[in-house]
């Protein structure tokens, strides 16, 4: 059996001071090289699970392995294996894209020459070459999303975690980001992606898991899910499994 990019077993998590479990006995396997989508309604536990997988939150129950290595048992150098693109713009808006990449590239463990080469490549691929020396503060939302993505992949990670990477962008930027993510995946990067926009699942994901109330309620390849619930479609399946009530109230 090949090494999984992510292997989660019996994971349980509760926020300090909260009564109920946020994640309950969760099991999940994402194969290396996969384009994996984690979907669920608001408050289902997507971001919490993402934060647990990236080490932003500590877990006490169960285990999370990235490329076979237990997440909680390694020092920070282990984080070099993966990249993370948070939902928020996580960079310095006063700086230019190149200046941001220089800083985050260094923090990702790259040398000056590598940073320079990767930055030029990323600016080109993500269509930011013309504005690479302008402060990000002046950019549109779509351009900022691309800067956010560029910083997450500067060090060519084996696994890339993306939390709603296309939220708030126009169709052109969304398609450009999805195209670029597919290119990354073809080059060997495993993508682990969360969103509540199911339409993106069909564009990008090979494997899908639906999460609700901290549990995986369905998980299969996109084709497998569509074959089983073809008449409902992904949205129908989603509503069928999670209900129609408000989840963020």
């Amino acid at each position: 059996m090949s090494t999984a990019a992510v292997q989660i077993e019996h994971l349980g998590f509760r926020y300090p001071g909260q009564q109920g479990m946020c994640i309950t006995d969760l099991n999940l396997r994402v194969e290396a090289g996969d384009r994996f989508g984690l979907f669920g309604p608001n408050g289902a536990g997507k971001t919490t699970l993402m934060n647990l997988m990236t080490g932003l939150l500590d877990y006490k129950q169960g285990s999370i392995r990235l490329l076979g290595q237990e997440l909680g048992r390694h020092d920070k150098s282990f984080t070099r294996l993966f990249g993370f693109v948070p939902q928020d713009f996580s960079f310095y808006q006063e700086l230019t894209p190149l200046e941001n990449l220089a800083f985050f590239g260094a923090w990702s463990g790259l040398g000056k020459k590598e940073i320079s080469a990767r930055s030029a490549q990323l600016m080109e691929v993500l269509g930011l070459s013309d504005v690479k020396n302008k402060p990000v503060l002046t950019f549109s939302g779509g351009m900022k999303r691309r800067v956010n993505l560029a910083i997450g992949v500067i060090h060519n990670p084996s696994i890339l975690f993306l939390d709603e990477p296309t939220v708030g962008v126009d169709i052109h930027t969304r398609l450009a980001i999805i195209d670029y993510l597919k290119q990354l995946n073809q080059a060997g990067t495993t993508l682990i992606y969360t969103s509540h926009q199911l339409s993106e699942a069909e564009d990008l994901c090979q494997t899908i898991a639906l999460i609700d109330q901290g549990k995986i309620i369905a998980s299969d390849s996109l084709q497998g899910l569509l074959a089983k619930h073809g008449e409902l479609g992904l949205e129908g399946l989603f509503l069928n499994l999670t209900g129609r009530a408000y989840r963020d109230g």
């Binding site: 928020d88 996580s90 220089a102 800083f103 985050f104 923090w107 040398g111």
Partner: protein, 426 residues
């Protein structure tokens, strides 16, 4: 090392693009130092060089009151404006409301007569005690009507006390002369010669003022020597506005989240911020000191005399700056919003400056504040600077001030580390 270099460059770029922060860090303290030194220098000149206008309404026609006016004039502190004896108290105070003068005295009618009567009584009593007069008639002491001193309420208490002390001195002189003359007359002597009178009643010994110093220099402290070090410290601690909110901004804009997922310890960022902002603090001190040395004389203000121990000055500035930077980072680590960091940071620095002796000299503070003063890092910074700038001390002389400052700085560093640990950043 490359990570640290990249982080310092990033911090410098962020800092230099924060125009408001830069203005607060450099322009504000320079303006404060210039304005406050000018104001205090003006007050110093008013007391020591300019004369205080004094309205004198002499309703007495005798010799003693004339001598009193002469004695007041002789003090050299007042510019006497004579007022007609016919003027009423109300007319006099109206002139004071118009700010013709801030002080006025009224010498009551019969003042000289009563001074002389009292002098004769005192002289007789003294001669009887010495067995030089047989007359058993004792008589009664005569108390002259008090001299009325009007002062404008804007006059500060310390200034008023100084004026009152000077007037009392003049009055004492007149009374002593009157007693001396009475003694002479009672002994059937001729009138006391003026030269002898002056020798008896005048000060035989002058007061020589010498500021104490450790290096033997006799530089007289002035408003610049007091204010420039004080406001330099204030400026360094005001870094809290820029640095504190920079840390909070990083937390709020998600940069912290990204940094937590990268294979680098946040300690690198912590060291970078300290190196960057410590350089800023040193630059602030250099700019303010340079203004004190070169610009102040051009503005008519006293020149700042730098201490002889320049290495000591650099080290004290370095430690003060480090303490200020540590305090700012501490505020940034624990504040939840930029408003919290700016509000609490600014107010706390002003309070620490107030209890630390930056705004009011520490020796005039009530005893209850003295304990609180020890907790203010600005107090120890100021004492260290004063040891160098005013006392002419060297580093060894101010160790007792540097050690508590270092203690506070280490404590702040521990609090920062605990705070970052709780946020799982290190």
């Amino acid at each position: 090392m490359y990570k640290l270099r990249a982080t310092i460059i990033k911090d410098l770029r962020v800092l230099t693009r924060d125009k408001v922060g830069l203005t607060l860090m450099f322009v504000m303290p320079i303006v404060l130092a210039i304005v406050i030194t000018s104001v205090q220098n003006g007050t110093f000149k008013l007391v020591n060089e300019n004369k205080v206008p004094l309205l004198v309404c002499n309703r007495d026609s005798g010799e003693a009151s004339r001598q009193l006016v002469q004695a007041i004039d002789h003090i050299g502190m007042f510019s006497i404006i004579g007022v007609s004896a016919a003027q009423t108290d109300r007319q006099l105070t109206d002139r004071m409301h118009a700010k013709d003068a801030l002080v006025a005295i009224i010498i009551p009618p019969g003042f000289s007569q009563k001074i002389m009567a009292n002098a004769q009584f005192v002289a007789s009593k003294a001669l009887r005690n010495m067995g030089m007069q047989q007359d058993e008639k004792t008589g009664q002491p005569v108390r002259p009507e008090p001299i009325t001193l009007y002062y404008h309420p804007v006059l500060q208490e310390s200034f008023r006390s100084s004026i009152q002390g000077s007037l009392n001195g003049a009055l004492q002189l007149v009374q002593n002369k009157a007693v001396l003359r009475s003694v002479y007359l009672s002994l059937d002597e001729k009138q006391v010669p003026d030269s002898l009178e002056n020798e008896i009643t005048g000060n035989l010994a002058d007061i020589r003022e010498i500021p104490i110093s450790r290096d033997g220099s006799r530089n007289i402290p002035n408003a610049t020597q007091h204010n420039v070090p004080a406001w330099t410290i204030f400026a360094m601690f005001f870094i809290v506005i820029s640095l504190g909110s920079s840390v909070v901004r990083e937390k709020l804009n998600g940069s912290f989240i990204r940094l937590k997922t990268l294979p680098t310890s946040y300690l690198v960022a912590l060291v970078s911020k300290q190196v960057t902002y410590l350089s800023v603090a040193l630059l602030q001190a250099a700019v303010i000191f340079a203004i004190g040395v070169w610009l102040f004389p051009l503005m008519g203000l006293p020149r700042l005399n730098l201490p002889k121990d320049l290495a000591g000055l650099f080290l004290v500035t370095l430690i003060c700056g480090w303490c200020a930077v540590s305090y700012a980072i501490c505020i940034g680590v624990f504040a939840q919003t930029q408003e919290q960091a700016n509000g609490f940071g600014a107010v706390s620095v002003v309070l620490m400056a107030a209890i630390g002796g930056i705004m009011v000299p520490s020796f005039v503070m009530p005893a209850s504040f003295r304990a609180a003063m020890q907790l203010s890092p600005l107090h120890w910074c100021l004492e260290s600077y004063y040891g160098l700038f005013l006392e002419g001390g060297k580093l060894g002389d101010i160790l007792s001030n540097i050690l508590p400052l270092l203690g506070i700085t280490f404590l702040l560093q521990v609090i920062i580390l605990v705070g970052l640990r709780r946020k799982r950043l290190i």
